[in-house]
Symmetry: C2
Subunit: 307 residues, 2 copies
């Protein structure tokens, strides 16, 4: 939908770029103060290249000059966490996150207890693969009212924080788009993630900001600033919102292909002092169908031009 | 996903009903203080029965004992507003709303001017069909940042309010779910609708609350109370959020088929003193494919059991 013709002066703090709306034929020129990027801050979530195994991800990302990798559990499963950790270390990969823990919400107390056990194992696995944090998709369940669900989340996180501390693994609450409030997460804005962080007040607990989920939020800039001050801004994920979006789950776009003003959001994140990895997390049936090596090259290009 | 077995004592202020989660086999018993309902407060949006013409809607709703109808423009178009008004009056229908005006957002000033002209015509049509209000889907456009888009909305509404006053037709801002923030509306929570109302401070301007769009909002109860105090609660729309939802546009459920706790939300609306029509607005490819008379009977049943 949106094509951006980049004219990036990367040696400079300021970017000039011209965006051309294919369907509007209007030109806008925007100055932004997001910091220049190179691939040293780039990380890819393995789910982005879903057809690949962990070995293929490590090799394929490395070939494109990308040394950051956030590891989803499905690629750990076939080799085990110890072996996965060895592969990642041997290749010199940086691992921002293991994805994903959470899903603390259930009507049944036994199911909630079992979710806590699963999350304890996630923390151990994160430690084994050298991941800095576990990303938490907090959970939701039809029949559990959202305020009650948020209590389950707070209780669940409280129960696993001691293990996170002893393992030196951070926990990052990822607010999910409100379209996932029924069955995936009762934490749908940064504000609700912040409330959990404030309640538990633990330096190991923070927030993973994914532009896909929060770009629409009128309070986003304030909440990012606040997370910066509260030292809870643990992660920054990018992709784009396609217009139209054809599927609720698997139609994310690469940066620059949708309507999200990623550079402006990143300038807010930069301003907090965040200088960690910028993680690419794209679920796309279309992209999963193409040659994954070509795809990773496009990811790198989109990262440099539109993140 | 969610099946509710109703045990409604309608002569009583209190409802007892048992909800049974098909996939969880858990039973919950809930007491609620929403007022008992009969069909006298029921209205259907013509888009709900999309295969039908206006004449078929009037006849079909009437056959089910429903005298409320919110009229979408596509069923007015073939007969014209004057004739549509005559048909509705002759049948003794109550018309809460003409649907829909709005779409005030555009990069181009000429396009914005033209949107205002369209909305002036919508107000005239609403007056011709005897509708109490025009529902506004405010608009959004990729390439227009959301704060800027909200200015277009405020300016657009300000420009048409004098006509609304002289025609005696109210304008109701409908906050749309954040999944429509890219291309349908930059007003995604009651809070943003309230800000526009506060800025323009006109008794003819208020809010249409549709549970589908706002059920997830942690501020919903507060905002409904506030709208009650500010006398901006103009309309209440119901349907349900299916789990899973298979399409962003046309997979709404009938009341009771999804995860929205409609009775609790209605109890908040009741508490403000709102006693207007409860409008059913369902877009569903599945339901559009079935016999529309049978469908309207199911709507009436779902209205009484789950709204």
């Amino acid at each position: 939908m949106l094509t951006t013709i980049g004219l990036n002066n990367r040696g400079n703090r300021w970017f000039l770029f011209a965006s051309r709306l294919l369907h509007g034929l209007k030109t806008r020129v925007t100055f932004m103060n997001a910091r220049p990027l190179d691939l040293s801050r780039c990380a890819i979530h393995t789910q982005t290249t879903k057809p690949w195994s962990l070995a293929q991800c490590i090799e394929g990302y490395g070939r494109a000059g990308i040394r950051g990798i956030s590891v989803w559990r499905d690629v750990i499963e076939p080799v085990g966490a110890e072996q996965a950790g060895k592969m990642l270390r041997d290749a010199g990969m940086q691992v921002p996150a293991l994805v994903r823990g959470g899903f603390f919400v259930a009507q049944d107390a036994m199911a909630r207890r079992s979710a806590i056990d699963v999350n304890l194992r996630r923390i151990d696995e994160a430690s084994a693969i050298g991941a800095q944090m576990v990303v938490l998709v907090c959970g939701a369940a039809p029949g559990v009212a959202l305020p009650e669900a948020r209590k389950h989340v707070t209780e669940g996180i409280a129960a696993v924080l001691p293990r996170a501390r002893s393992a030196g693994v951070k926990l990052a609450i990822e607010p999910l788009h409100p379209m996932y409030a029924a069955d995936r997460s009762c934490i749908n804005r940064m504000a609700e993630a912040r409330l959990v962080c404030e309640q538990l007040a633990d330096p190991m607990l923070g927030i993973a900001v994914d532009v896909y989920h929060v770009w629409w939020d009128p309070d986003l800039q304030n909440e990012i600033e606040l997370a910066g001050r509260q030292k809870t801004l643990f992660a920054f994920h990018v992709c784009d919102w396609r217009v139209p979006t054809r599927d609720l789950l698997t139609d994310r776009g690469l940066m620059g292909e949708g309507c999200i003003d990623i550079r402006t959001i990143r300038s807010w994140v930069d301003k907090t002092g965040f200088d960690g990895p910028i993680e690419i997390e794209v679920f796309s049936q279309d992209y999963w169908s193409m040659d994954q090596n070509e795809y990773v090259a496009r990811i790198a290009e989109a990262f440099l031009s539109h993140s």
